[in-house]
């Protein structure tokens, strides 16, 4: 790391005088006619725009092209614009390897377990993936004496361990990991149940940990039972759940704003009898392609996928897919949670015979469903035939280390073209 810093400092003193940091000026334009064209002459914002379109393995490779590129590609601001373009993928964990798959089930990258060195990868040997946000994985390691929850970026090989709990004899559950745009912070939410207390059921406490801080903050009682999904479905800095009242009499949707740190009820879809409590495995809530969805598998014959077309507007819930496939219906009832990985706006309206909805049931059953023919396809890769754990994940360059300290600002102004902001 010292080496990295050295390069950055070296760069910021010497190179800022260089041509590349000057705006496109008349002199430069004329000078360029005489010289050979070099990509180094392009202004930083254009270079960043170009780099942000590259796959992550190319980015890691081309950092050694020259010092300017290295500095640009290591900049936290670049991590942000890259993330905005990066496609949703899957992190897959098998007994032998970790791998990243595209959301159309094509394997992208593979890391073999024996290549893990010096603890640079996900920490610990026996861990499970909980949830992920912006390329950071929240993982859980359970051993005889302690329980460790950590946040890592497997691509950069960086991780941090969340503060341990003082009291061990509690039922502790991580219920979400997300990023709040408004507060620019990553936060983890957990619920705790102190088992030794008299009334058990209504006694869940909610605690928040802001990444980079040292503690968990208690924010009071959990107002309802969070039924589905297990880890809050994150959209616009807000977690969403299907919830039941503590007395199991009413069902509804709720949200938790990571900036305000408040629970609220949230408009649910117009499904008949939605207010009555149902088994957790008959409903799935999630986010795909920037839309909130709810899968209703209450009827055994089929299940319906509802999409909230305008965020927060109750009337905009639309039943977009009705899936009549006994295999999927059965699997949904086994696993409960269902992730849709590749929804995009107007997907059913514009569907052709090749349109596929890629779904992950539980964390181990991955398949693509042809929207028109209702046929089901399994991933081809031999590596993920059986015994794997998968979670939706975006490979990113978001640095865990940067979250722990104040952001470093470079001495130049960056801007993004309107096009690249349009994500």
């Amino acid at each position: 790391m010292n080496f990295l810093l050295f390069l950055k400092m070296n760069f910021s003193t010497s190179k800022r005088k260089g041509r590349a940091s000057e705006p496109a000026s008349k002199e430069r334009a004329e000078e360029r006619v005489a010289n050979d064209a070099s990509m180094s002459d392009l202004p930083f914002p254009i270079l960043m725009d170009i780099f942000s379109r590259l796959p992550i393995n190319t980015i890691l490779q081309i950092r050694s092209v020259c010092k300017t590129w290295f500095a640009l590609l290591s900049d936290p601001y670049f991590a942000e614009i890259h993330l905005a373009r990066a496609p949703l993928s899957l992190m897959i964990l098998t007994n032998f390897c970790q791998m990243i798959c595209s959301n159309s089930l094509e394997p992208l990258y593979k890391m073999n377990q024996n290549q893990k060195q010096n603890g640079q990868n996900i920490p610990g040997k026996r861990f499970s993936l909980l949830t992920s946000c912006n390329g950071l994985l929240c993982s859980h390691e359970f051993s005889y004496k302690k329980e460790v929850v950590s946040i890592c970026n497997p691509i950069l090989g960086e991780y941090l361990v969340l503060p341990q709990l003082e009291r061990n004899r509690v039922d502790r559950r991580i219920r979400g990991f997300g990023f709040s745009q408004s507060s620019k912070q990553y936060k983890v939410i957990q619920t705790l149940n102190y088992k030794n207390q008299a009334v058990e059921s209504n006694n869940f406490q909610v605690e928040i940990h802001t990444i980079g801080m040292d503690t968990w903050r208690n924010i009071g009682d959990l107002p309802y039972q969070l039924i589905q999904p297990y880890y809050g479905a994150l959209l616009n800095g807000v977690f969403h759940w299907y919830a039941h009242s503590h007395d199991n009499k009413t069902a509804f949707m709720c949200s938790f704003d990571l900036g305000k740190e408040e629970f609220q009820s949230f408009p649910g879809p117009p499904i008949q009898g939605f207010g009555k409590c149902r088994p957790a495995n008959s409903i799935s809530v999630g986010v795909s392609g920037g839309f909130l969805y709810l899968c209703d598998g209450f009827l055994e014959s089929n299940f319906d996928i509802w999409i909230m077309k305008n965020y927060g507007v109750k009337e905009s819930w639309t039943k977009e897919f009705v899936i009549v496939n006994p295999t999927i219906s059965k699997l949904q009832r086994v696993f409960g949670s269902m992730y849709i990985l590749n929804y995009r706006e107007n997907m059913s309206k514009e569907a052709t015979e090749d349109t596929e909805l890629v779904m992950l049931l539980g964390s181990e059953d991955l398949f693509a469903y042809k929207v028109t023919s209702q046929a089901v396809r399994k991933p081809k890769s031999t590596c993920i035939q059986s015994n794997y754990q998968a979670i939706p994940y975006i490979p990113s360059l978001v640095s865990v280390k940067m979250l722990q300290r104040k952001r470093v600002h470079w001495g130049f102004d960056l801007y993004v073209t309107p096009d690249s902001l349009n994500f």
Binding site: A24, S25, R32, C66, K67, K110, D419
Partner: protein, 167 residues
């Protein structure tokens, strides 16, 4: 009769262009709106590059006009044919730029300066596609970039994440 504007390149060549075509450039559109576009409009863009810029703008203009004249009937097939035409045109445009990187980089600067977001985005994607999957040495050669790392530094960077991915 369409309103015409005269654009003057940095090497003093005059280009006569329809307002509708050149208004795609936010920079020029603003000049026109502000009434600053009287007589010749001097631009810091060489004639060779400006010709390319206008080639792009005319193609885009062509596309929007046709779409406006479409009636809904049979639109899908027509749209598909048009998409093929545009693809073909864009491929030819890209190939020419790939062969002449001077123009490519100049065009990138010009699209930035003239505020042509669609062209800028198209070109950034073009360069990204050229870079993707290439090794550093190839890229340096291709884009005329000087390696200012010492061999030790370069080795250290490569080693840092070298183990992480197997395509």
């Amino acid at each position: 009769m369409a309103i015409m504007y005269a654009l003057k390149s940095s090497d003093n060549e005059i280009f006569e262009v329809e307002q509708k075509v050149i208004e795609q450039s936010e920079t020029i559109k603003k000049m026109i709106e502000d009434g600053a576009a009287t007589g010749e409009i001097p631009l810091q863009v060489s004639s060779k590059t400006l010709a390319k810029v206008l080639e792009w703008c005319k193609q885009r203009q062509h596309k929007t006009v046709e779409n406006e004249n479409d009636d809904n009937k049979g639109k899908r097939k027509k749209e598909r044919d048009e998409d093929d035409d545009i693809k073909e045109w864009e491929n030819k445009f890209s190939d020419e730029l790939k062969a002449d990187k001077d123009v490519l980089f100049d065009l990138l600067l010009a699209s930035n300066y003239l505020d042509l977001p669609a062209l800028l985005s198209f070109l950034c994607q073009l360069v990204a596609d050229m870079v993707a999957g290439k090794m550093p040495e190839e890229i340096r050669r291709m884009f005329n970039i000087e390696n200012d790392f010492t061999p030790e530094e370069e080795k250290a960077i490569t080693a840092e994440h070298g183990w992480a991915f197997q395509p």
